[in-house]
Symmetry: C2
Subunit: 369 residues, 2 copies
């Protein structure tokens, strides 16, 4: 009996880094319950659950979650299918390279030819078929020995995202090599990027053979590489907790863009698969309101369990208190109603929520953060 | 030993009709807790308590309260000095003539030469000395055999109040006879009234010998007069409850303006004492905000126990939920935060709260009214 050749997609293992506090989404998002644990789209599921579901057709149970240890219980409750051997609990956040690097190292030791893909737990993606199609192509390209990122075809000159400059076409349906990654531009530069047709939004999704990813890391950040390897080697043994607690806090805090993606691009090791699915990095309530209303003017988006009585108001209401909420004649209002804190503002001021949270921190209201 | 002549002020007995639901102040004001039971001025006392205190220098314990029987407990708690023989509990509201008429009848039977004065429980009066001075003069004028009303010197052409047209001067410091009462005018008419100098705002305050008031009522509404007399005769006896419940619901619902003040004015039986104290009929949250901010622009008025974090917001916040309330960049906002209902609107829409309450009633949310 012939041993059938393994398909590349069978080598795929998804990693979901579930971190970040989302302070611009206070008081809904808290340190103890960051945005990925909430239903911000009205889908009936949290962003984390949406992310999990979106990956299931590709990865099935082969999905690992990296999150803060204070979120362990919430994550396990929200993802009952998550195998407990596939959850990494961080004692404190050490940025994305440590998180994804450790996951990649653990998975590589279990399965040397594994192709990992990293997808943040708090993104909103509306066309799952197009997403899956892009990841499928990315896995094939990654199997040729490249780190592959998914680049969103820009629909406007946004200054909120970093951009990816494409290089030559590759021997694949739509993938191109990546010339370089660029930081969030100013509006003029963003317009030039979009007009050129050569740039994509960097959505922070990486698909790569774990082995390759770690090789690059070994070159760029040898100490960090040694650290994650040390933890990974102890991971599936009785020494896990001891090595983790002795090593984790010493790992360098650095974003994966700087530690791996950008240096790898300079070595021609990165490809981009262009994609056109609708993607949102729901950063503040204004963006959630927009997402919910789908561009329709004058709509009031409602998230949560509130009984709502609205007389010609638009904007967004988030309420989980079961109270009646009555809104009269307010344009682009933002009302976030939680048991211990109430926020009222409007879309124009949505970004200021972050400094308000900072003010709360400084005035000693940590119980509300 | 000579029996010293009784001063007119010693004949004075205050009546406080404490009724009305104040639906434009929902969700703070409810059927079960109307506006007079709330502190709307930030004085630290409710409107009812403020009304009581304002009358004490004149009436002392000689004060009677007429209120709905569901408010009995709240009124007794708020007014510990109120003698229980001086509280009339209405099984249902029957408008102001029944309320004030019954109080006047009970007091007249106890004390035939009593001069009663009626003062609504939900008005705000800022200069108590001027108020007391006006009432003192009104009592003297009433003692000459007149029904006396206190007329506010208008400070603008308001269309929110009825007006009182003055007639000839009387033999008193500032009192005049009243030519007639006129309904709330349109703005053009209001301006003419104000420009003429002949008109005052009708604040609904009446001071009169109880006997005279009831004589007028006997002429204009003989059945209603007979009804209140029947109850009054049984009031201080064991038959009170039986007669009250058999008679009260049959009393005609009519405002005292129509049943007594206007017809009495046509008989030259009414005088007006002009007054210039600051008087507010706090009808909606916009007027409370104005009252609180004393005309200063850009202020946020706060009523209640909320912890507030405001970034350049103006308007009014009413909160009794002990939550943190954060407001960012909102102009003339109205936020009313109660345990089972939250209202968010702005000053321009403050009057619409009434129709919202109507919508709640029609949609069967009576538990929130």
């Amino acid at each position: 009996m012939q041993n059938p050749k393994k398909n590349n997609i069978d080598r795929f293992f998804a990693i979901i880094p579930a971190g970040g506090s989302g302070s611009r989404l206070w008081p809904l998002s808290r340190a103890a319950a960051p945005k990925f644990l909430h239903d911000l789209t009205g889908s009936g599921q949290t962003l984390l659950q949406d992310t999990w579901d979106r990956l299931q057709p590709l990865a099935k149970a082969r999905t690992m979650v990296v999150t803060g240890d204070i979120h362990a219980r919430a994550v396990e409750e929200q993802l009952p299918e998550l195998d407990l051997s596939n959850i990494i609990l961080e004692p404190t956040p050490r940025d994305s390279t440590a998180a994804i690097g450790l996951a990649a190292a653990i998975l590589m030791l279990r399965e040397p030819d594994v192709i990992i893909g990293s997808f943040a737990a708090d993104h909103v993606i509306l066309d799952e078929n197009k997403f899956q199609e892009a990841v499928l192509e990315a896995v094939e390209v990654a199997a040729t020995g490249l780190i592959v990122t998914i680049g969103l075809v820009p629909t406007e000159a946004s200054v909120a995202f970093g951009y990816i400059q494409q290089g030559e076409p590759l021997d694949s349906k739509s993938a191109r090599s990546v010339k370089k990654f660029v930081e969030k531009p100013n509006i003029k530069l963003a317009q030039e990027y979009v007009d050129s047709g050569d740039y994509f939004w960097n959505a922070g999704m990486f698909i790569a053979p774990a082995k390759l990813l770690l090789e690059v890391l070994a070159q760029t950040e040898p100490e960090l590489h040694a650290g994650v390897m040390k933890i990974a080697l102890a991971w599936d043994s009785k020494d896990r907790d001891q090595v983790m607690s002795a090593t984790w806090l010493k790992l360098k805090k650095i974003a994966i863009d700087y530690a791996i993606a950008e240096p790898a691009a300079l070595q021609n090791l990165v490809a981009v698969v262009p994609a056109e699915f609708e993607w949102h990095d729901v950063g503040d309530f204004a963006s959630i309101a927009e997402l919910q209303s789908q561009g329709r003017k004058g709509n009031l988006a409602v998230i949560g369990s509130a009984k709502v009585l609205s007389d010609s108001s638009s904007g967004i209401l988030v309420s989980y208190t079961n109270r009646l909420v009555a809104l009269i004649g307010l344009e682009d209002v933002i009302v976030v109603d939680t048991p211990d804190a109430l926020l009222v503002t409007n879309k124009a001021n949505a970004q200021k929520v972050k400094s308000l949270v900072e003010a709360l921190r400084q005035s000693g209201h940590s119980e509300l953060l």
